[in-house]
Amino acid sequence: MAKLHAFRDPSQPALLSTYRPGHSFCELIGDGEENRPRLLQFWQRLEQMALPDLTVRAADAVNELFERGVTFTVYSDRDAIDRTLPFDVIPRVLTAAEWKHIEAGVKQRVAALNLFLTDLYGAQKILDDGIVPRDLILSNPYYRPEMRGFTPPRGVYVHVAGIDLVRGRDGEFLVLEDNARTPSGVSYVIENRHLMQRAFPDLIEGFSVRDVSEYGQRLREKLAETAPEGVMDPQIVLLSPGVFNSAYYEHIFLAREMGVPLVEGRDLLVKDKRLYARTISGLHPVDVVYRRVDDAFLDPEAFNPESMLGVPGLMSCLRAGTVTVANMPGTGVADDKAVYAYMPRIIQYYLGEEAILPNVDTYICREEKDLAYVLENLGELVVKPVGESGGYGIVVGPKASAAEIEACRKVLLDNPANFIAQPMIDLSVCPTLTDEGVAPRHVDLRPFAVTGKDTWVLPGGLTRVALRKGSIIVNSSQGGGTKDTWVLYPEGSAPVSGPQAAGGEASVQTQAQGRRTV
């Protein structure tokens, strides 16, 4: 049977004929100076598609996500409503060379984060040496004194990391943010790929795209490597806050991919500094907890006593070394937006290396000189509260009204230590299907790294796209969507996707003709 293939009516304009990325760096065609040869083939493939056809198939694809239950949950007064994260069908493509650079940079970053945390909860040399201000750490709400003096198996605090990257006008990758607590979104990386393979086999065929489906097994492997000493075949569980968490689907997905039970706090109990799950045949010992519950809710005995989501006594197990918690409590101090500013120095301090992936220039408002500069240049800067995630509370100077700028100045002066500021980055863009055809939209990239004996980076990542025209805020809570992210194998080194891959362009032609008779 001939596969469906979009055949372009020659009388219609080519899909990308009106596509103009402007000054932004374009993920498909680069900085506009020259077409990158590796992506030329992808450009040509896109050009063969017809807009109406693409639109219809995109709608089908989104519907399929819903049918398969790939949803996050929004609660109204009366009901729980399942929504799909907006999905854009035009993939974001990364070349092998770009990926090699990202992968090395992410590994370096994660290594530094783990060394940093081990030091902070251990000897605190970096504070003694004055590289990072002591009060910035010790007064940080995410610093957990309960962890002091404890070294986790293999020195791993951050088992799962999501490092948010952006590209400016010159195309250089910059780190925008580290996520070292409970980064989410990896289920979309994998589900998006499966969706593309089912809905757009004709788009992906012939390209040598690296596989992302082994994430669950890799994560399981890395978690097992960090099990308490002497445990050969650890019982791993995924601890979820429960059905009311908006990321509940991801918890289900990851538990399934890893092949481990999905538990809630009430399923676990601690007895004699040992953790157990309640099962129909009694108590079953648990060795590793991949938790998607925030620190504050993890153990009511140690942290928030009001928490119903955690396990009383879990911290006592952790300190007794009978259980591994991933990520370890207290990692929030390292991915704090204020600490972020020191990351290049932290990398230098522990690894003696330059950061492979540089930071975005960051002004630390707790420092007088920086604050003065920020107040002076509010109209040019992006001001971010340090404790927030999800894109809340961000003021984008160049897009803010005069009133918003003044409001921002006031909160800044009230509590400068709560803010950092960064120059506005003209984020790179990707061709994206919109109401007005294929148009440039800003994107970022969150690669995921899992760490045990060593660090493995998922060859892909979550590409978030700001679907609103001109918007640079990609968070799903602020109107963002996602794209499939293709990491290509080095040329000539790898299998290509699709059953008739060897046919290359010829097979594409055949299918194009086949489409006419369908």
Partner: protein
């Protein structure tokens, strides 16, 4: 690792709530058909007797008119024993089980729930009501069919089946009790007696037994024959005896297929249920004592549910210490998960964790599993998920 106790409990209640929804729809449907041949205003209030809801109903409705009773049992959100209430509870359990149930099942339960949820608070006509009830029934059969075709056959499947069979037996014993309760309460209409033909005929149809009964008995419908059929006929899937046999077999499978210990209290309970049935079958005056028999059946089923909770769902119970067969260490069994009030708090926390956008919930949404019951048959019938 064996199935989590919580998941086992959710599966058990998932089965119960689907069966309860289906049974309710069937009862409404039959009454609709029955009502057509009668003067208006007849009939409907017996439902309140059947489910012992008269007090709760009187709090919110001025009179037990057919319109009010239908609304109360079909889509009154405040009545947790309505179709929309039971189905909502089934869906809440399915949500907690999403890692275990198939996508097909999840989609079907959502479709079913949305359909009921979208019903207007008052249906425009009786024929619309009949259509609606038929649709709900069909939806429930579809759910059971999808479960049958897609569920993984581990211990969880057995708990799902146990829930289904226990609810089925319970619903049957309640149906059998209607007439007695009506006469007892002096609310029977038209001077009907216990042996009223129309009533028993309706009962037979209410549980989908008319066709099967006719294959077995060709003469005139005798109340005694019908009662015997509905209680003891092993080949009739809704008879109490058939359900008891299924329960027995399923508990056995927990041991033989799933390697779970079968605590002696559970075996004793099932044997008590069989004894009750055997004794009743030999009693020529059963119809006269039907009410006492039904009460006894319901008490056994409640006790059985409680035993399952103690043996497998981790319910704290003093009797546990005395039962050597179970492997749950009783002295350390911690308190049950928080119920009711505290749930909204944990839910709130759960949402905050994901920056979910909403603020408040309907209490009936706030649940995933059902708390086992203790005392009256009333609480059994109303047992809603609470933690």
């Amino acid at each position: 690792m064996q199935l989590l106790s919580r998941h086992a409990e959710c599966l058990f209640w998932l089965g119960r709530y689907i069966e309860r929804t289906s049974s309710l729809a069937r009862i409404l449907l039959v009454q609709t058909a029955f009502d057509r041949g009668r003067a208006s205003g007849s009939g409907w209030s017996w439902l309140l007797t059947l489910f012992d809801d008269a007090d709760d109903f009187a709090k919110r409705y001025p009179e037990p008119s057919s319109r009010n009773v239908i609304r109360y049992y079909l889509n009154d959100r405040e009545n947790l024993g309505s179709v929309v209430g039971s189905l909502g509870a089934a869906r809440a359990n399915a949500r907690a089980l999403r890692a275990m149930v198939s996508t097909e099942f999840w989609m079907q339960i959502n479709r079913t729930y949305r359909r009921v949820d979208a019903l207007p608070s008052e249906l425009e006509s009786e024929s619309r009501l009949a259509q609606t009830c038929e649709q709900i029934q069909t939806d429930c059969y579809a759910l059971l069919g999808i479960a049958q075709s897609t569920f993984y056959r581990d211990a969880g499947w057995r708990f799902f089946e146990l829930g289904l069979e226990i609810e089925r037996a319970d619903q049957m014993s309640r149906l059998l009790d209607v007439r007695f309760a009506q006469i007892q309460a002096g609310t029977a209409e038209h001077g009907d007696t216990l042996g009223d033909f129309t009533h028993w005929s309706m009962l037979l149809r209410a549980c989908g037994g008319h066709h099967a009964f006719r294959r077995l008995v060709s003469g005139p419908l005798q109340p005694m024959n019908i009662a015997q059929f509905l209680i003891f006929e092993q080949s009739f899937a809704r008879s109490i005896a058939h359900c008891a046999m299924e329960i027995d077999g399923t508990v056995t499978q927990l041991r033989t297929h799933c390697g779970l210990p079968t605590p002696s209290r559970l075996l004793k309970r099932i044997s008590d249920l069989h004894d009750l049935l055997h004794l009743a079958q030999r009693d020529p005056g059963l119809v006269r004592y039907l009410h006492g028999f039904n009460d006894a059946v319901q008490r056994e089923l409640i006790a059985l549910t409680n035993d399952l909770a103690v043996c497998y769902f981790g319910l704290e119970d003093q009797a546990l210490a005395a039962t050597a067969a179970t492997s749950v260490p009783s002295e350390t069994t911690p308190p049950r998960p928080p119920a009711q009030g505290s749930q909204s708090q944990s839910q709130d926390q759960s949402q905050k964790q994901g920056q979910s956008q909403s603020q408040s919930q309907d209490r009936s949404q706030a649940t995933a599993t059902a708390a086992p019951t203790t005392t009256t048959s009333r609480s059994q019938a109303k047992n809603q998920p609470s933690d």
